[in-house]
């Protein structure tokens, strides 16, 4: 029986023919198989996709967190880069000044819009003295008005109480730069006969014993020659953008300055 069975199997294997009952069985079973396998695939798809979505959502959350961290880090790097540029510019400027200077950070501004002062994070302990000049590469910032141990108050040149001895770079016309309003300065006591034009650069004269000679103060933005009087009314726009002021240099050896100017 076993031998007969083997012979039959080998013969059927060689001919590759399908018989009627086999085809019927296939036709009967196949649709069910298909339906069942589709259902299984459908359930499997739902199952896999559901978990996939949950996983994707979790991954998405993680990516979002990583992205926000990257954005934060990127902002920090950008801020560091900008700060680096500013500090390098301060350092380059520091090299051009022969006097001893100290860099300070702006930590606060005047509580009133009527007065213009800033607070810096250097004080008596760092060698800052009342009356010291405060500058940046763009030009004159102001003068130290009050000093505590670790902080100082700086009177900006745009404050009504401030005064800087200055001259026009082109015509050498001399006058006093006083704080005006709307973040501008007034160039006072300039003789009518002196030629001043809009766009002229105003620099410090060095005669006040506070600021070095030749430091930029601002540019002439308006000139009015009244019919009477010996002075002309000159408005100056400062070179320094006081809204964006973050770091400044404080000139420490004031006495030497005073001595030089007196000489």
């Amino acid at each position: 029986m076993i031998a007969v069975n083997i012979i039959l199997l080998s013969v059927s294997n060689r001919r590759y023919q399908s018989y009627g009952p086999g085809r019927i069985a296939i036709s009967l079973i196949a649709p069910f198989q298909e339906a069942v396998s589709r259902s299984i695939r459908f359930v499997k798809d739902i199952w896999v996709h559901y978990f996939f979505l949950v996983e994707a959502a979790i991954e998405n959350d993680n990516y979002k967190k990583a992205f926000s961290h990257s954005v934060e880090r990127n902002n920090l790097y950008k801020e560091l880069k900008l700060s680096n540029i500013r500090l390098r510019s301060l350092l380059d400027f520091q090299k051009t000044i022969t006097d001893k200077v100290i860099a300070a950070e702006v930590i606060g501004k005047d509580p009133s819009p009527w007065f213009k002062t800033i607070m810096i994070n250097k004080g008596k302990d760092d060698g800052v003295k009342k009356g010291a000049a405060v500058v940046i590469p763009e030009g004159i910032v102001g003068q130290v008005a009050e000093v505590s141990l670790h902080n100082s108050k700086v009177l900006l040149i745009i404050d009504p109480n401030s005064a800087v001895d200055a001259l026009v770079q082109r015509s050498r016309a001399r006058g006093i730069i006083k704080g005006g309003f709307a973040d501008r300065c007034v160039f006072k006591y300039v003789l009518r006969k002196k030629g001043i034009a809009v766009g002229d650069t105003v620099v410090s004269s060095g005669l006040d014993g506070v600021f070095l000679k030749g430091l930029p103060v601002g540019q002439v933005s308006d000139v009015v020659k009244p019919n009477s009087g010996i002075f002309q009314e000159v408005t100056v726009t400062p070179c320094v953008d006081f809204e964006k002021l973050e770091e400044v240099l404080v000139v420490l050896n004031l006495k030497k300055h005073m001595f030089q100017s007196e000489q």
């Binding site: 606060g108 509580p111 009133s112 009504p160």
Partner: protein
């Protein structure tokens, strides 16, 4: 303990005004935040509770500002006296009147400031700039002043209830 609350609030206001607000151009011409606090003190607190705080923070503000020393102190004292006088015949606890009280306070402060500048800097040409600054400050005060007053009052009540709980627990 009320003093602690007042000092805490004032420190927060000073820091907000001198370090955070300058970063936003929107608040370039915002009014002095301690003005509504002085108004709040004069409306809801006794003389004994208010005067030391006003004196202390008047001096603090004078030290931080570039104006003549004593300017803020003077302003706060006049503001306090003015509001105390107003509440003798006006019921200003009413929220309808609060915006106008704060605006009047800000206006008074600005008048004192402008008067001082004009006195020390005769001939200073700042009329147009002054008018726009005062107008903007008064508008800010009308719209945001009462919010500050309500905020101070609410937090003071919360502070008091928290203190009571702490005292009861300790006993």
């Amino acid at each position: 303990m009320t003093y602690c609350f007042h000092v805490g609030i004032c420190i927060c206001l000073v820091l907000l005004q001198t370090t955070i607000m300058p970063y936003f151009h929107l608040f370039d011409r915002f009014y002095d935040l301690l003005s509504p606090f002085v108004i709040y003190l004069s409306l809801f607190h006794s003389l004994r509770q208010s005067i030391p705080v006003i004196l202390f923070f008047g001096i603090v503000m004078d030290s931080l500002s570039g104006g003549p020393f004593g300017l803020y102190l003077t302003t706060y004292i006049w503001l306090f006296v003015g509001v105390r006088w107003i509440i003798t015949f006006l019921h200003v606890g009413d929220s309808f009147l609060l915006p106008f009280i704060v605006a009047a306070g800000v206006l008074l402060q600005n008048f004192i400031f402008i008067g001082t500048i004009a006195m020390f800097e005769p001939g200073a040409q700042f009329l147009s700039a002054a008018i726009s600054t005062v107008t903007i400050q008064v508008l800010w005060a009308i719209f945001t002043g009462p919010i500050f007053l309500i905020f101070f009052n609410y937090f003071h009540k919360r502070w008091n209830s928290w203190l009571k709980k702490v005292v009861v627990k300790e006993n």
